[in-house]
């Protein structure tokens, strides 16, 4: 590069300043980069490599075999499909309810809105285990529902199917995931003006058409984020089925047991990646479907 004397000097000085600026940004991003690499990237890679290893005499041995994946997709496929069915149901219910609540907070609750938002945020950050445990006290044989029904004389035996059932798992998951669904949708809805909805009404749209033509297309990102978050959390959860699901086998429990009783970490890793990959497919489909959603 050639330049006359004076601008040349300036170019160099500007360049030096820019480099120094970049250096300081680099320094500031270093701690987080180290933490992220050490605690996320390396463990993930390690975990992926582990999925090809095998266990011999209760020891993990390096190897390169697809045997774990074959087992994951063979022996454990029915549980995977069952888990996905429950997770899909959970994620859809949570997203719909989350959308409804976000809509109420954004447009309908009036003076109640800040309070609703507060409750949503509060239940987001704490009480995971307590929420699961609470449903045990509600749905169990000596739980609130059964005692109430017995007390009213409507039944004379506790309804055992309330508890330790897929329904109990789904209800519990929906309850604890709801705030996670509300927030991304709510932040999408914040960008939607009241006048957009009123315009649509003014131009003849019914309430349902407002939802399908305006709200859903405008909240695509939020809806997808909510759905993904809920689906992944539901697919991988093992605490909920363990506490309220009884003998119901979900994929998370199988993965968990590889690190406990079964002691087969490589299989656990392969199961995890099968689960993540299959989830990615589900989420990809969901995002495609949502993109295809066009107002007619």
């Amino acid at each position: 590069m050639k330049a006359s004397r004076l601008p040349d000097g300036q170019v160099i000085r500007d360049g030096a300043m820019r480099i120094r600026g970049q250096w300081s940004v680099a320094w500031m991003m270093t701690p987080v980069a180290i933490i992220f690499t050490l605690l996320f990237i390396l463990p993930s890679l390690n975990y992926f490599v582990l999925s090809f290893w095998r266990v011999a005499a209760f020891r993990v041995v390096p190897d390169f075999s697809y045997a774990n994946y074959a087992r994951a997709l063979g022996q454990h496929l029915p549980v995977l499909l069952y888990t996905f069915k429950l997770a899909l149901l959970t994620a859809m219910m949570t997203t719909v309810l989350g959308f409804l609540l976000a809509y109420v907070i954004r447009f309908r609750a009036g003076r109640l809105a800040p309070f609703l938002l507060l409750v949503t945020l509060l239940t987001l950050f704490g009480g995971y285990l307590m929420k699961v445990y609470a449903w045990k006290t509600i749905l169990g044989n000596e739980g609130v529902i059964n005692t109430a029904l017995l007390g009213l004389g409507l039944i004379d035996q506790p309804i055992t199917s309330l508890f330790y059932s897929p329904g109990a798992v789904v209800v519990t998951l929906v309850h604890f995931l709801l705030p996670f669904a509300v927030l991304p949708i709510f932040s999408s809805l914040r960008g939607v003006e009241e006048a957009e909805i009123e315009s649509a009404r003014d131009l003849g749209a019914s309430g349902w058409r407002v939802v399908s033509d305006i709200l859903v297309p405008r909240c695509r990102t939020g809806i997808l984020a909510a759905f993904s978050l809920c689906f992944l959390a539901a697919v991988g959860d093992y605490v909920t089925p363990a506490i309220v699901g009884g003998t119901i086998s979900m994929f998370g429990r199988i993965i968990e047991s590889q690190f406990g009783q079964a002691f087969n970490a490589p299989l656990g890793a392969a199961l995890s990646f099968v689960m993540l990959f299959a989830s990615a497919l589900v989420l990809l489909t969901a995002s495609l479907l949502l993109r295809l959603w066009r107002p007619r």
Partner: protein, 259 residues
């Protein structure tokens, strides 16, 4: 069209949601004060019996201590690292900053179980002894994204002319930072620290796997649920709820964080 009937309908919907979200937690709290033998209706009398039972357990104090050690260190480290990161992101382009936010958020997208066992395998592979230290490291992974997000969103709306005024009135860059920037940011930093604390205290799954039996309050609840189920579990749960929800509430007051 706005009519009183519809307004009522929507407010009722809101109230139903609130009941759905909070009633189960209220029940947990209520049953911790039962005088009966189980966490169920009817409640024969109100008593502090199960709270006393909880406070009589030696393992409670051990768990409390571990939880406090982990929570406080996680909260402090993630706030310091988060502040530095957020300040750095401020100098990045909009796109680059969004990318950093996305990257940091990735671990949150994964099921906690997968994160937990991959960390466990990694710690074993590099020969790190499992214990409070590994739990603390692991918690940083999910507290940092929240802390960075909270501080960064505050910094982005920060009126830079305030700092310029300070400089104009004769403050050196360092002095401007200590006397102007930091005092203004303090509520946000405390808020972020409290959120990190709540998240850390509330975690069960990652603690359970990466701590190798190190008892914290949630793992204690977990073992109590699975072994001898008494309303003492409710008392412990209530305590956990009070700490995490209280921390979050104060944090939201301070940061005016709204999602």
């Amino acid at each position: 069209m706005e009519t009183p009937g519809r307004t009522f309908f929507w407010q009722l919907t809101g109230v139903i949601f609130v009941v759905f979200m909070t009633a189960p937690l209220v029940l947990v709290i209520l049953f911790s004060f039962t005088g009966g033998d189980i966490a169920a209706f009817p409640i024969p009398s109100l008593s502090l019996r199960w709270w006393r039972a909880l406070f009589a357990k030696p393992e409670f104090y051990e768990a409390l201590q571990n939880t406090a050690i982990i929570g406080v260190s996680v909260s402090a480290i993630s706030t310091i690292v988060g502040t530095v990161t957020a300040l750095g992101m401020l100098k990045l382009s909009e796109r680059a900053a969004a990318f950093v936010t996305f990257l940091l958020g990735l671990p949150l997208l994964l099921p906690a179980l997968v994160l937990a066992v991959s960390l466990l395998s990694f710690f074993i592979a590099i020969g790190l002894k499992l214990g409070l230290f590994t739990v603390m490291l692991s918690h940083l992974l999910f507290t940092l994204p929240f802390v960075v997000m909270i501080i960064f969103s505050r910094l982005r709306t920060f009126d830079l002319s305030i700092i310029e005024s300070a400089r104009d009135l004769g403050a050196s860059p360092m002095r401007a930072f200590w006397t102007v920037t930091l005092p203004i940011l303090t509520p946000t930093l405390i808020g972020a620290a409290l959120i990190a604390l709540s998240l850390s205290i509330d975690d069960l799954i990652i603690t359970f796997f990466t701590g190798s039996g190190a008892a914290t309050l949630p793992t204690l609840v977990w073992s109590m649920i699975r072994t001898n189920l008494t309303p003492a579990t409710n008392a412990l749960g209530t305590l956990l709820l009070a700490v995490t929800l209280g921390g979050t509430l104060i944090a939201m007051r301070l940061t005016k964080f709204r999602g």
